[in-house]
Amino acid sequence: MADRRYTKTHEWVTVDGKHATIGITDFAQSQLGDVVFLELPSSGRKLTARETFGVVESVKAASDLYSPVAGRITEVNEKLASRPELINSDPYGEGWILKLDLAGDLPPDLLDETDYKKVTEASAH
């Protein structure tokens, strides 16, 4: 998807007007391994860009989740509670994590596909 943007901390965001959808990248899920649990906020909470909003856990690792954008949470992916493996099987689709109503402009430091690829190549040795 061309309009998907990324963070250095391996989250992705797509924007449709004032609405944003957030998840973690395919690279992130492959580094974590099988996801077993997500600690997620409730709808209605306001997030600032780069704010920690939750944790994703595999058996061997845990990683904080940072919001790529500022906004108010309108929806949390309920399916992940019983099927955390969706993060692994479909990170950009069914494994989405939050939907937000955007507040203000997108942060300037979001990466495009090419730049994000550079980040993953650097951290994969």
Partner: protein, 499 residues
């Protein structure tokens, strides 16, 4: 081969063990206590006869691998043989049956032992005093950081950051956070040692301490340790020594001389108190004179041959454990030091370094050695080449070793090496054992080329095969989120539990 749980073996027909009766006329709880204070139904403990209990635990024991049986190459864990004389010493009634609140005059031998152990540890690591109170290594780390913070507070300094290398044990940042510090990571350089440039850029007037282990977790001695110490001290910060790797250089050099201000030791690693399947251990902390006023209370003091517990220490960080620490482990460690002597301890470290370098050489070329030697008492190899070429990971190598009568090395630590395999042979192992272990690893590496699938299936000869931790974790999380009534973390009567 698996063993049922005691709860599954339980039979309601088993009579309770024969125990003393009161043999005196007096009230029972139901006569005196209000009904609401009493337990409604008895706790769900199993009911087994003594022979059933002994067989149950003997069969469980046979499912364990232990150092008394064979080589335990776990890097960073210093799995040495645990001399049986240590156990005999700790079991002496004069130690095992002492009540911690006996009057001081009646426990002079115990206090003398603690005092002598403190003196010996001071001599080994080069510090002025030692607290024996912390129960484990992580507990010792935290205790040391509390002392450093109290010292800096007493000087009116508000230092808020602790520097931790990226290769450090996970307890380091956790202990720092628990002591109220922000954790700042220092990077390793290409040679696996701490980067002086990065250290310099992270040091500031906010820095309280640098936590360091030497040799580092890659088994490499920090050659520039004196420069590191000078750099840290020049900003007014302190240097903390994580004693996980002390077995590398007893009698060869001392953390105190390197400039460390606080030093924790793991009696269960370096000083042969048994690991017990994960504790109890003991994590004493040694300090230089500036930190002495802040030691946990009580300390053991000796005046004219009389020993006392000093509780009145106004600047103390307080008490970090009940009573005086894991005294039984102190007896074992003291016994070991006494038997080994200064000469024996020095030899032990030399032998440990020799074993590690020898084994490293035998494995070089079969596994990758990402850093140049010589190493100290342990080394870190990498299975990265196997992963890339054959799809065989460090975990597969570890599991395959279990099928070849060895325990596995530490894997995936330190985090700075991909597919890390961390091996610490210790002075316990003979050349023959090291040769056999190297042969086993070479066979596994060879099998990676011919039959990688086979390696993914191992271990096959252990009581159970690879356990599905992912499914287990998902079941636990389902329980914790109220989607299931199977707790997974405990047994529940069959009617209530589907598994």
């Amino acid at each position: 081969m698996t063993e049922p749980l005691s709860f599954e073996l339980s039979r309601p027909a088993v009579d309770p063990p024969r125990l003393p009766d009161a043999n005196v006329a007096g009230p029972s709880p139901a006569d005196v206590l209000p009904r609401g204070a009493l337990r409604a139904k008895p706790p769900g403990l199993p009911r087994l006869s003594e022979p059933e209990i002994m067989r149950h635990y003997s069969r469980m024991a046979s499912l364990n691998y232990s150092i008394s049986e064979n080589f335990y190459p776990l890097g960073s864990c210093t799995m040495k043989y645990n001399p049986v004389v240590n156990e005999a010493a700790a079991a002496l009634p004069g130690f095992a049956e002492l009540h911690p609140y006996q009057d001081e005059e009646t426990v002079q031998g115990a206090l003398e032992l603690m005092w002598r152990l403190e003196q010996a540890l001071c001599a080994i690591v080069g510090v002025d005093r030692v607290t024996l109170q912390p129960a484990a290594g992580a507990h010792g780390e935290w205790t040391a950081l509390r002392m450093i913070r109290a010292y800096q507070h007493s000087r009116g300094e508000a230092r808020t950051e602790v520097l931790v290398p990226d290769s450090a044990h996970g307890t380091n940042p956790a202990s720092a956070a628990l002591s109220g510090f922000q954790v700042v990571e220092v990077k390793s350089g290409g040679d696996g040692r701490i980067s002086l440039a990065d250290l310099e850029s992270k040091l500031s007037p906010r820095t309280s301490a640098l936590m360091l282990t030497n040799p580092n977790t890659l088994g490499l001695f920090e050659r520039e340790i004196l420069d590191i110490a000078e750099l840290v001290h020049s900003t007014g910060a302190m240097l903390y020594y994580d004693g996980a790797n002390l077995n590398a250089f007893m009698g060869i050099c001392r953390p105190g001389d390197m400039g460390f201000d606080a030093v924790h030791m793991n009696l269960h690693k370096t000083f042969t108190t048994p690991h017990g399947g994960g504790g109890p251990g003991a994590g004493p902390v040694g300090v230089k004179s500036e930190l002495v006023p802040f030691l946990p209370a009580p300390t053991v003091e000796r005046t004219n041959g009389r020993l006392t517990l000093d509780h009145k220490r106004p600047q103390s960080i307080g008490r970090v454990r009940s009573f005086y620490g894991n005294f039984g482990m102190l007896v074992r460690a003291y016994t070991y030091i006494l038997a080994m002597g200064g000469d024996g301890l020095s030899q032990a470290s030399r032998d440990a370094v020799l074993s590690a370098n020898y084994l490293r050489k035998l494995l070089d070329g079969h596994l990758e050695m990402p850093h140049d030697g010589p190493c100290m008492h342990e080394f870190v190899a990498s299975a990265h080449n196997l992963t890339v070429q054959d799809g065989v990971r460090a975990l597969d190598v570890a599991k395959a070793l279990l099928d070849r009568e060895f325990y596995a090395p530490t894997v995936y630590f330190p985090l700075v090496v991909p597919e890390a395999i961390m091996v610490e042979p210790t002075e316990t192992e003979s050349k023959a054992t090291l040769d056999a272990f190297a042969q086993a690893v070479r066979e596994i590496v060879a099998q990676a080329k011919t039959d990688p699938q086979g390696l993914h299936q191992e271990p096959k000869r252990t009581p159970v095969g690879r356990l599905d931790e992912v499914a287990a974790a998902r079941r636990i999380n389902a329980y914790l989120q109220g989607q299931s009534e199977d707790p997974v973390l405990r047994w529940k009567a069959a009617a209530e539990s589907p598994s």
